[in-house]
């Protein structure tokens, strides 16, 4: 992913507006081990979601690319999948450092819909069988 290190702050002036506040910069970059939909080791009982994901072992993988900006990838993960900011940042950093990350799992048709949506956003996404 591309990192914008330039002094973008120089742009952050609101034209023709009074009483507006400056932009919040994301301050937290720490990873978050918990994630929605991930299997929890706390409960011995399989919940419905876990069971169904065993029945339909397909995953959506997002791959690193040299164009997309880190904050844009977080924005897509947050707004499209509804991930909390910490989880979206954790997944983005996985993509950035490991080259790819599994961002969703479920039925094949659903993963194909997600893949089309990711391609619409300009992210490189593939579908694969979830091989344990």
């Amino acid at each position: 992913m591309a990192v914008v290190a330039q002094l973008v702050e120089r742009w952050l002036v609101v034209p023709d507006a009074a009483g507006s506040s400056p932009v919040d910069r994301p301050s937290s970059r720490e990873g978050h081990p918990g994630s929605p939909g991930s299997s929890s080791t706390a409960s011995p009982v399989l919940d419905v979601e876990t069971t169904s994901s065993l029945d339909v072992p397909w995953v959506l993988i997002v791959w690193n690319d040299p164009i997309n900006l880190m904050n844009y990838v977080v924005h897509v993960f947050r707004t499209y999948f509804g991930y909390p900011r910490e989880e979206a940042e954790r997944l983005m950093l996985l993509v950035h450092h490991e080259g790819r990350a599994v961002v969703a799992s479920g039925p094949r048709e659903e993963m194909e819909r997600h893949a089309q949506a990711m391609h619409d956003y300009g992210l490189t996404a593939t579908i694969a069988k979830d091989v344990p």
């Binding site: 914008v4 932009v23 707004t79 593939t126």
Partner: protein
Amino acid sequence: MRIGRVGDEVRIEFEAEEAGLLTVLAHQFADVVRDPELDDAPLLAMLFPDAYRDDSEAAAEFHRYTRDELEQRKIEAAERIAGTAHEGVVVLDAEAADTWIRALTAIRMMVGSRLGIRTDDDEPGEGPLADIYGWLGELQWVLVELLEGA
């Protein structure tokens, strides 16, 4: 250019040449997607990647079902930029700003591809096109920051 957020809206104040540049690039992008040439293959591979890496048949079928709609939406998003960028203050609501950042990714892929950026290690280098690429990245970055600050 100055940019900021007022309530639910993003406001960008463009110089004439900035708005003109965005408009030209957006039109170029739409033209490339509509009528690509042979050396646009790397760009098309980024814009419309294979959805299956180990199953060419499934990848081809996915392209058959999704390519037209993806092309249409990317062209529409770019044309949205071309239709709204102008000298002076441009006001974008949340939906328009989302379309802009989506289109900016696509346009940056076009410019980055011309600069030979294929991996994270490739640098845009120096020159007018590299400056444009850097400028587009800053614009997209700030737009996303403003949307994320909501």
